[in-house]
Symmetry: C2
Subunit: 344 residues, 2 copies
DNA sequence: CTGAAAGCGCTAACAA
DNA sequence: TTGTTAGCGCTTTCAG
């Protein structure tokens, strides 16, 4: 049993008015279109009886606005990104827009077809997070006048908007915390060099070390996944004397840091912060749980989302708006994973 | 500087063929439409030069298929749902569909306008998770022939498809594990009675207790959020003698269980499993981390997602397909949060 | 196999 | 204010 959809024409017929009258009644900008209260009344009644809902697809076709924005993520494992998606969706909805989500498992997905999909759906804008944008995507979008803003990533391309935390500054903060506590053999567990976040945080960390005349003791990549993180952590500590292993670890994000802490404590039998201090980045909710009490560099996620949305809509609404890079300040949140300052 | 989109007509002109030829060349079902290799060639070349991409919106309007499915979530805090969303998106994309995400913060959002939004976007189907569907939504959708399948929820309405784990059986498993270990004062920390998952798991738990002639010692609601969970956990144990407090806790999902464990160990200073055994539900990745080693009832999330998608597409592709409730088996994953069986 | 023509459901001039 | 008309970009008969 096939149900035909009910159209504005159906409503018009039932209400005894023109189809335009129906259109005007359901126009999202109520003030602008003149409809007498009487007609409005009739239309609304007929619409309700028929269960009419305007067809957003048809509307988009004519208005050249889909009120859909593409949202690109590569994974939701890291709670920071899950939270970001949640906030992004809320913000979009609050503005009458909706998120069409593209989940691209970095490896699996072929990027070309995704680009193509995005373009075909006529999204009004594109928000990308946790994904290294192929320049292809950027070019194709900007060429077509689709604004894109990168969330928590940067790319050198100045044609793109981006919002990030001050990752370099954040990295310095982490180094500072560890150095101030008297740690001497500092290691960093990075993500992956292709990611600007990871690069910048490590860069800042090293910069601070350098400024203080300290040396980086060791480094490794955790590739943003738990398996490699655990592996790398073991390599740092396993079968090494206290003097030969790091006494401080800066992990590039909390998601990985939590895993590292687990390995350190439960597999390796080391104590935090007595044997090794650890600092993370992001401040996900788990970091605050007493079991971890992870000292970390907080990213102001709410403000990041707000800024991303603002940038995006500025460009959607005003095609002359210029791309912009907004960088928010990072902040150290001290908990119990860094040992107390040893008096000099 | 406004860029006009390039349409199939532009391509046709450039290629010196009819617009229909272009349409046929880009038809998603290559076999069905006859286009000579020669024309195809010309069209493709012209399209590439112009950077043409078919307009999915216009296509949807005529085919009455948007290839978009609405995906309803209320939060992504619980990693189980974040993971579910990730898998759902992948599955959808693999089938050439995309997810339009509706994030409805249970309280904030007004349900009517969301229903309206969903309907307006002409989604081909609806997937709902972690959300108690107002019957309104169900009715409106089914009335319009939009298939809906509920993920990890049920509702009595037989007109709706749903896929769940055997929550009742899972609840029994949890009780069995605790009883077999010799626990005597069993408490359950539920979610919220409005949620079928919570109700069913608790029901199964109680049923098993009853079958074994045991009594439920105590219960409380954690309302699926960490704050209330912590609160409830404290109430169970704080300032109570060993004999007056639970020696076993069944928490309705891992997300809450992890929080409960933290409170028990770090705030209350109790040991797990020596002082209290705990069992969770879901088997999120954190449960497997050695720090927690949470014994839990696993939901086969991959199969749940596959089943949901299968159900949804059966109904999308064949409007005669009947709604169905598929229930997958639950499985106990034993780790270290339940004390070893005391020999009788 | 190919092109012409008729819409999909809606908005936006334009007249009345 | 209201109705009439002309499309938005595409798919799909229907002739040729």
């Amino acid at each position: 049993m096939k149900k035909r959809r009910v159209t504005s024409t159906d409503v018009a017929r039932k209400a005894g008015v023109s189809q335009s009258a129906v259109s005007r009644t359901f126009s999202p900008w109520p003030t602008q279109s003149g409809v007498s209260a009487e007609i409005r009344e009739k239309v609304l009644r007929a619409a309700k009886e028929l269960g009419y809902q305007p067809n957003a697809i048809a509307r988009s076709l004519i208005t050249q606005r889909s009120r859909i924005v593409g949202v690109l993520f590569s994974y939701l494992d890291n709670p920071f990104y899950a939270r970001a998606l949640e906030l992004l969706c809320h913000g979009l909805q609050a503005r009458g827009y909706h998120a069409l989500v593209f989940m691209m498992s970095d490896t699996l997905q072929d990027i070309d077809s995704t680009v193509s999909d995005i373009l075909q759906y006529q999204v009004d804008g594109l928000l990308t997070a946790s994904v290294e944008l192929s320049s292809k995507l950027c070019i194709e979008c900007t060429e077509r006048g689709i604004p894109v803003v990168m969330f928590n990533r940067t790319q050198d391309d100045p044609g793109l908007s981006a919002v990030t935390t001050d990752n370099i500054g954040g990295g310095r903060l982490a180094a500072k915390a560890l150095l101030d506590a008297g740690c001497e053999r500092l290691a960093v567990l990075a993500g992956w060099e292709g990611a600007s976040t990871s690069r910048d945080r490590e860069f800042g960390f090293r910069a601070e070390l350098h400024a203080r005349g300290a040396e980086l003791f060791e480094r490794a990549n955790g590739n943003f996944n738990l398996e490699d993180t655990a592996q790398a952590t073991r390599a740092f500590f396993k079968d090494r004397n206290p003097a030969e292993r790091p006494d401080a670890l800066f992990v590039i994000n909390d998601y990985m840091a939590i895993r590292a802490m687990d390995v350190i404590r439960n597999e390796l039998g080391l104590r935090i912060p007595e044997d090794v201090s650890v600092v993370g980045f992001d401040d996900i909710s788990t970091a605050a749980q007493p079991t971890y009490g992870l000292t970390t560099v907080r990213q102001p996620i709410n403000r990041m989302v707000e800024a991303s949305l603002r940038l995006l809509f500025e460009q959607i609404e005003d095609s002359a708006a210029q791309p912009e890079h907004v960088m928010l300040g990072a902040q150290l949140v001290e908990r119990h994973s860094v040992r107390r300052k040893s008096s000099p």
